[in-house]
């Protein structure tokens, strides 16, 4: 049952081959027996899941089921879930039970999905390896001595290990796509504003976006259809109708102009990654797509610009964690300043503190122009580069990551070395564009991601191109040993 896709599970439930309660119990048991090896879950909501499954079975019996009714899934622990701990991977919120549901959570619940629990993540979504979580690192099911990527490491590992058929993730600088690449799953970051950010704990408000993590593009299309949509409660929500992502899935790609970025496919790219990406491009060419070389001349500035913009926005967003209204409070505060300083210092881990500090510095008097304003101008340049490229191609393709999953502890004391993991993903967030990472041929037994980037609100096209590759290849069907 755990090898079935969402589409297959939906058909099985409709045909009465199994019930939602059976399906949910099956995944809960897999989590119980297998997750100790991975640590991909922070909270498992057994009773709630079974209750939701029973309600789903009733809807199915009454003929009121939708495509996702009764199918189990898990939410990254960054989404507020009513009555359930929402920790954001941090000691700061270890004691926080959310009083409300994020919009993405209620939309998927309305679609009838059953929540198995909350997945592990880098603390406050800051990281590319899922090693900064207060709840311990997540391990990659392909090699448990290696990282699954981050920050949505738990969501990625759970799908790869078949502990959940689908999960939600968030992507600010690559946090859906990079772990999807390192664990061999499909992860989509929609256009900024496509999915509501209401109830999604904020890291960098102009970059954050929720998205599905699944094993196939078809499943991602199903999830996105339920997750996306205008929300009056999110003032950055796009007032744009949600497409039927399934309808466009099977369009042939002959004549599609595929842009390959000159600056990304340079001589220093790891040869294994390059070969894998080229195999995916070759498949598109085999199906009649045309390859065009495009240039993103300012792409090399995306990591520096991001490491000003994101920390600046995070320093502002995380100022709400002050020990006053919710979250961790230090013992016996002497005065208000002591309350703030000790609660925050005890509640936040080292990476979060680094980013708050950089952000505070970049926004402080005398430095705002040199750093934050400059970074926003670079952002404009990068968005302009993409507009120029999309005048010559329909989609842009690239590696998702510079390498395969690295060993736990590998990036040690070097934050910059970790930041460079996002070199192919970050420009997309700065420009607010949609992008998907799908599995390409593995290198030395480790997954590799192929990234497809689209112009704004082109999720349908991305899912279509990804689906056409997945129909003709089996790279996305590989299963890690032991799962």
């Amino acid at each position: 049952m755990h090898h079935k896709t969402l589409a297959e599970l939906s058909a099985g439930l409709a045909a009465g081959e199994f019930s939602s309660v059976e399906l949910t119990s099956h995944f809960l048991e897999r989590i119980d027996t297998l997750d100790a090896r991975l640590n991909s879950f922070i909270s498992v909501t057994r009773e709630l899941a079974l209750e939701q499954a029973r309600a789903a079975d009733e809807r199915i019996a009454a003929g009121e089921a939708g495509a996702l009714t009764g199918i189990p899934m898990a939410h990254k622990d960054i989404f507020c879930t009513r009555g359930v701990r929402t920790s954001c991977g941090s000691r700061m919120l270890d004691n926080f039970t959310s009083p409300y549901d994020a919009t993405v959570v209620s939309k998927l619940a309305d679609a009838g999905m059953v929540m198995l629990g909350k997945t592990n993540m880098d603390e406050f979504a800051m990281g590319s390896s899922n090693e900064t979580s207060h709840y311990g690192p997540v391990r990659n099911p392909w090699d448990v001595e290696r990282v699954p990527g981050g920050s949505s490491g738990g969501s990625a590992a759970a799908v790869a290990a078949r502990l959940a058929p689908a999960t939600t993730g968030t992507d600010t600088g690559g946090s859906i796509r990079q772990p999807a690449a390192l664990t061999g799953v499909t992860g989509l970051k929609p256009t900024y504003g496509r999915c509501s950010r209401y109830g999604m704990i904020a890291f960098a408000s102009s970059l954050d976006q929720a998205g599905p993590m699944t094993r196939t593009a078809e499943d991602a299309a199903l999830m996105l259809g339920a997750m996306a949509g205008f929300d009056a409660r999110d003032s950055t929500s796009a007032e744009r109708p949600v497409e039927d992502y399934l309808a466009a899935l099977n369009q042939p790609v002959s004549g599609l102009r595929v842009g390959v970025v000159r600056e990304f496919m340079h001589g220093e790219l790891d040869p294994g990654i390059a070969a894998s990406v080229e195999a995916a491009i070759a498949e598109l060419q085999r199906q009649g797509a045309e390859v065009v070389e495009v240039s993103l001349p300012n792409a090399h500035l995306s990591v520096p610009a991001y490491y000003v913009v994101a920390p600046a926005e995070c320093s502002s967003n995380l100022s709400r964690f002050d020990g006053v209204r919710f979250g961790h409070r230090c013992e016996d505060p002497k005065d208000l300043e002591d309350l703030y300083k000790r609660s925050r210092s005890e509640g936040f881990g080292p990476e979060v503190k680094r980013r708050i500090m950089i952000g505070t510095y970049a926004l402080s008097a005398g430095y705002y122009d040199a750093y934050y304003l400059k970074a926003q101008q670079i952002r404009q340049l990068i968005a302009g580069d993409f507009r120029g490229a999309f005048a010559e191609c329909d989609v842009i393709v690239a590696p998702t990551t510079p390498g395969t999953a690295f060993p736990l502890g590998d990036k040690g004391d070097d934050p910059v070395s970790m930041y460079l993991q996002d070199i192919f993903t970050i420009a997309v967030n700065l420009a607010g564009l949609p992008a998907i990472s799908i599995p390409a041929p593995a290198v030395n037994g480790l997954p590799v991601g192929f990234q497809i980037i689209g112009d704004q609100f082109q999720e349908g096209r991305l899912l279509n191109v990804a689906h056409r590759i997945q129909q003709a290849t089996d790279w996305h069907q590989q299963v890690p040993q032991g799962f």
Partner: protein, 95 residues
């Protein structure tokens, strides 16, 4: 760009973070190396380029001035570290 421990203390105070002297040392190294990464931006000429605050063309939406939320004070106070009589408690602020 090199940050001295003194700069680090000032930033920490602005961010309301308590930093030990050891943390101050390692932070000053780490933050300096991040600032070196960031310094790559200065190589590019950007005068006249409009800063981008937001990826979409959008205006702040307004809504009618009508009450839409319900009073859930007890529920929200449930997560408070210390609360009394419907208020959040903090150490004395004003002498």
């Amino acid at each position: 760009m090199s940050l001295q421990p003194d700069d680090v203390s000032k930033i920490a105070h602005l961010a309301r973070l308590a930093i030990t002297p050891e943390e101050g040392e390692s932070l000053s190294r780490e933050l300096s190396s991040i600032l070196d990464l960031v310094a790559q931006m200065t190589a590019v000429e950007t005068s006249g380029i409009e800063p981008m605050a937001h990826p979409l063309e959008m205006q702040q939406r307004l809504r009618p001035d009508e009450v839409t939320e319900t009073d859930q004070r007890e529920l929200y106070l449930g997560n408070a570290p210390q609360a009394e009589a419907g208020l959040f408690l903090v150490p004395k602020v004003i002498e």
